[in-house]
Point group: C2
Chain length 438, copies 2
Amino acid sequence: MSNRILQDFSADTTPVQRGGAPLRFGVNYTPTRGWFHHWLDFDIDQVSRDLDSIAELGADHIRAFALWPVFQPNRSLIRPQALADLAAVVDAAAERGLDVSVDGLQGHLSSFDYVPAWAQTWHQQNLFTSELVIEGQSAYLEAIAATLAGRPNFLGMSIGNEFSQFASPLHPNRSELTVAQADTWISTMLAACAAGAPGLEHHHSEYDMCWFGGEHSFTPALAARRGHSTTIHSWIFNGTSKLYGGMSEQSLRLAEYLIELGRGWSTDPNRPIWLQEIGAPAPHVSAEDAPAFLEGSLKYALDTENLWGVTWWSSHDVDTALADFPSLEYSLGLIGNDRTVKPQGHAFAKVAAEVRTAPAPARRSTALVLEVGDETLAPGRATCEPGGAFFEAWMSLAMDGARPSVILASQAGDASFLAARGITTVLTTREVSAGSAI
Amino acid sequence: MSNRILQDFSADTTPVQRGGAPLRFGVNYTPTRGWFHHWLDFDIDQVSRDLDSIAELGADHIRAFALWPVFQPNRSLIRPQALADLAAVVDAAAERGLDVSVDGLQGHLSSFDYVPAWAQTWHQQNLFTSELVIEGQSAYLEAIAATLAGRPNFLGMSIGNEFSQFASPLHPNRSELTVAQADTWISTMLAACAAGAPGLEHHHSEYDMCWFGGEHSFTPALAARRGHSTTIHSWIFNGTSKLYGGMSEQSLRLAEYLIELGRGWSTDPNRPIWLQEIGAPAPHVSAEDAPAFLEGSLKYALDTENLWGVTWWSSHDVDTALADFPSLEYSLGLIGNDRTVKPQGHAFAKVAAEVRTAPAPARRSTALVLEVGDETLAPGRATCEPGGAFFEAWMSLAMDGARPSVILASQAGDASFLAARGITTVLTTREVSAGSAI
């Protein structure tokens, strides 16, 4: 079996263009002064100095984050000053050649939850199905989008950073909803973004639970079929580093894997993928290894089709004077809290320079079949998690040099779909594990 | 029986002094612009205009409210600007002859809960027993108290407005704790206030659940024996208006009743009582009746011993542009949102002028015995709620002109305690209901 698999690896290596657009390369912007609480003491001079240090890395865009309760403390009060401050960030970014994608509903950031009082406890308690909450969220997203719509460096919105964490079966104060309700919510929020800023690139951002959690109402199908592109958040603390080591091939290939997983769930062969978050978390990756982790991870991630871009987490280290962050959050920056570039920042700058002229990667002609049961609900998606059978099989193929992509079981027999994706070899996890066993 | 009861009513009507200090008369300050979200867009000019309109009513103090997540967004970040803004409010009040008592942990305000992210969901979830939460709360209260300590018009702190709502059996996301833990928490918070501002009047503020809810860990004993004085929040929407009517004697006497209940739970015969909140909520009280409700309620409330003062809720109407408040919250102001004095504001001003020269009330020589079981836990305290046997008996006595006070069952046979309180007639609810039945 192994031979057959290896034999097919070179089936199609024709380079494809990325639709003519250069790959985007940027950072998630973490303010040095006050972290995202900087909105409470907004200082454009400090923000500008942060953006200076980001621009010096060669980044072409940032992802910027509002804080929902600060921007919309009452359902009918979307603070004009907060919108003006956000616009000032976008304008300061423009002055430095940086485009900006804005996340609205934070929502969730670095382990902390921010939900306004009007959507909590005695008031509406379900963040996805309460009518008044949806009304408030829609007005909020539309207001942000409309504020920024005229600015040429404004890329568009994400609904909110991993907002579906509030629906996680693990959340201590979970909002429950069905998959159909999740779909409705996503569509409503995206419509609000589009109402404020028509024609721009609006997203919803999903995290591991979407790809791996069979009970989670935000599904891979929704991740890969709603919004402008599929967003990928790649964090090796999801079990990968624990199982295989922080600098293992599995860890270095996690982003590539998730990108291919996201591509596999797409019904549109040309749908863009955005590696929206990836970082080198300590102690999973040591400070010494961080540059190599960055370069290794990106080498693999950039070898994928339809990649819109990469946005590293994060720009700057979190101020250690701030308490209660998970310890790994303090040192994720490419740049220190004092705005000196860290070794991983230099590595980022190097890749940023190279990626501008790199050819688009060859198409991936080998696909591994994903079986998760009903593909709307994906109850069997745990097979995709680190250590799961599908994860193991895909990694095995990848490490054998197969450049595997992913195809859903429902599409594995669809010749025209396979042709559109350029897939010439279709393998099952059973075949791979049998092959590996030889 | 009825005769015997009536006969004793005139046993001791000697006026007593209020310890030489004039009764304090003020308002809970509700900012007209942005409600308590004004901290996010702080404008001392608007605050000053609000305080002008309060001073014109003849108030001598305000109760002012911080917003916890805005003041302390991270456990180790107590924002200097927020403290400076609060100090500016206190100084602006001083310029208008107004003293200020400050509530720290909001916490809870007008149906809305405000809890910082570091004390919620993925982080510490118990607001009373988590060590890090307690550490953060203590630092916060001490910082506010220390900021204001040198200002002669700063009266002191309340830990937070009805913060124990977060421990209520009815709260959708309840923090559970024992009575002993509640005691420890209150004492720790009061110590933090005293560390920041030694020698001032620091309180904890309790609401109905404390007096009526047998499962609530914040007990009447704690309310009446911790902090500088016993704080009373008198709201007829607690069932009183529904059972008896908004302008009934029971509703007009609710504050008087709660004050006497608080006095009954005190072990110190001279402990001050602060009627910290009372208001005329629509539609329980119509706009037309509001002035009469104010005058009637205060006539009874002011006829109690050891009353430190009255703080009406609230200074100004809530801006109707703000959404999701319970409807009654919008019209509680003595002053409209446009800063024109409402009829109940004129009534307040009239009482404020009269109260300065009014003699202290006569002592109350008749006491109704309260039996609630174990007096540390007070499991039977529901007898005190509107419609409860004790409530009914007390009201019956009051309406018969008896000016009843309250004595705990454990103290009803203590001759020296009765003498210290000036109580000469002790009645049980059974005697009262038998007497009423004749």
